[in-house]
Symmetry: C2
Subunit: 406 residues, 2 copies
Amino acid sequence: MKSVGLIVEYNPFHNGHAFHLQASKEAAEADVVIAVMSGNFLQRGEPALVSKWQRTKMALLNGVDIVFELPYRFATQKAETFANGAVSILDAVGCNSLCFGSESGDLSSFIQTIDYLKEQQNSFNENIKWHLDTGVSYPKALSLAFKQLPDANNYLDLAKPNNILGLEYIKAIQRQKSSVSPMTIPRKNADYHDEHFASATIASATSIRKAIFTDNEGQAEIDQYVPEQTKLLLKEYEQQFQRYHQWENYWSYLQFRLIHSSPSELREIYEMEEGLENRLQGAALVSDNFHKFMQQIKTKRYTWTRLQRLCVHILTNTKKEEMTRHSEKASYLRLLGMTSMGREYLNKKKSHLSLPLISKLASFKEKEINLDIKAARIYSLGIPSHLKNKMLRQEFEQPPIYIQEK
Amino acid sequence: MKSVGLIVEYNPFHNGHAFHLQASKEAAEADVVIAVMSGNFLQRGEPALVSKWQRTKMALLNGVDIVFELPYRFATQKAETFANGAVSILDAVGCNSLCFGSESGDLSSFIQTIDYLKEQQNSFNENIKWHLDTGVSYPKALSLAFKQLPDANNYLDLAKPNNILGLEYIKAIQRQKSSVSPMTIPRKNADYHDEHFASATIASATSIRKAIFTDNEGQAEIDQYVPEQTKLLLKEYEQQFQRYHQWENYWSYLQFRLIHSSPSELREIYEMEEGLENRLQGAALVSDNFHKFMQQIKTKRYTWTRLQRLCVHILTNTKKEEMTRHSEKASYLRLLGMTSMGREYLNKKKSHLSLPLISKLASFKEKEINLDIKAARIYSLGIPSHLKNKMLRQEFEQPPIYIQEK
């Protein structure tokens, strides 16, 4: 059985994802699609619109066969770490290929860019340092530093987050000497960050979330951009838990945490830089919602994403020490769900998996998974009080989602 | 100018308090009444119904001339520490006497009990230890141990919290070699812990709060038990902040804190005993309100009050180290309010005060007051989100309340 791996967030699963999934499966001539999906907190430092369980259902009902959770330790991270974790999971499960979307759809442009960056490593690093010293953010410095290199125009544009991700996937495969083959297919419309609907059927997840949150009719408006299953699962979730998750649901907890902690406690938080803790504490006292808080703390030096990730770590109380003591690769395979086809695949692979497969939390004791458990519990605080306890316990009680295919 | 000191919580100020105040003033032949009042969190480990500022107004409009805050470090504590702090403040301000209410109204019974306890110290301590080993709570062990002493019947009943407080006031005066004279007057009706209305005009604060929280008509029902000013100030507060404070307002923060902290972080909290942190974390996951949580964690060994105090310290993130590094006495006089008479008194005493007088927070840097500031900020999280920021800043901006007497 041939398998193709996808690295996803599905926040929520939309037509663009469905297109990418089918095209990847065809390109890879795969029988089985394996998704490595971020849990409840995402790469941009945001809570997912709906829980990982509901997003797993969306995936399985739309063509994915197996969903593994990308652990918190990798999911709410910069591209390099994110890629390391995701690739190591696909590798451990013996996945044949990893297929990601890109503007060009041309793998060689990625390989060439990586080789060129290796060649130019010294000047590139010097350029980055120089730009950082002017006070700009790291992604900005990276992109400016690259543009300064002599033949930069012949290579990928590092200002695009999707190109950075693609490069990091391939670099992770190379670094881990993985047998997973990288592949890329052209993306269809809609930029990653697009906030507006631009096509008749394909829209970015950002614009879909925006429609859901800004408009009472948002749910209706997104119908043409998401598969029927997504529509139903979103509605089901909202009925069950009375809301979708967004940062504002967690603002009072973040504010509380910032008010009641000492600066030295905050300095222990992962990604907290010296002095930033005072800025955050000051802003917490004068902001009455998350958005205003972010506007208060935002500077040229820190991107919005970087600060949001830091806020997630504050919320989950994730320490520097916890995030840095582990290896660069994942240490377990947390199975969130599978189809009957996915089960067949896993049964065949069972004895060859290079990492423990976790389908029940209660029977797994490795400390590293505590970060995922805590993240899930904190996530559950984002729904109304009388409903949250059900979700609090779900993390332990929920078996992997299973979808019997027709 | 002769002054009498009262140690109070005024949660809220009621007719019993008014009676005690007038009787104390007469008994002490005092011109000025000085109250040392707990801040926003009280001795029983509860948030005050309304803020310390509103309770200060109640006090000043009902006959008190000066209100000092009993710092958090003393207020949310067992009787001995509570008494130490309060007495040291009255002493520092040169107050002539401290008048407390008691069943007997007979000071000699307190003095005799203290002398008797000194005599019997060894057997008493052994008895306490023996009872503690059976697994009962400390107050229970104390009262049982006392009853075992040969002539216990001739002395005060240590099962009554008010007797314990009175004894501790006198012991604190003796220990501090204070020149404050202890006095006691008989209490009028209503036991400290009474939950029901028993008299036509005097009711316990407990029963008044109960009426306010359990009944829509509660406000009307309490009218006969509180002065007109209390009634108006309670209404004003509710209009301004849309609610009264009780533990349930803070439950989601406490739950969040227990879920996101590590056991070792919780072990640093003041009054946390080894092993209790696990019990609390487990209960937080299965309880959907504060009352259910308390029922989960309650044991024979820990009184409800003791556990509530611990919960306040968890909420305010107060560490063992912070609470034990200071002297047994207060180190500042935080002025919450005064009448014109109170001002006259303070002007006269100004140069003789043995502690710094704080009327503006911004100009005082001593670290110890940070506990009070944090407690006030955490307290402000108990009102609706869009109103809390106003209260958050109040702690720094609010000058002492001033009431010009006619």
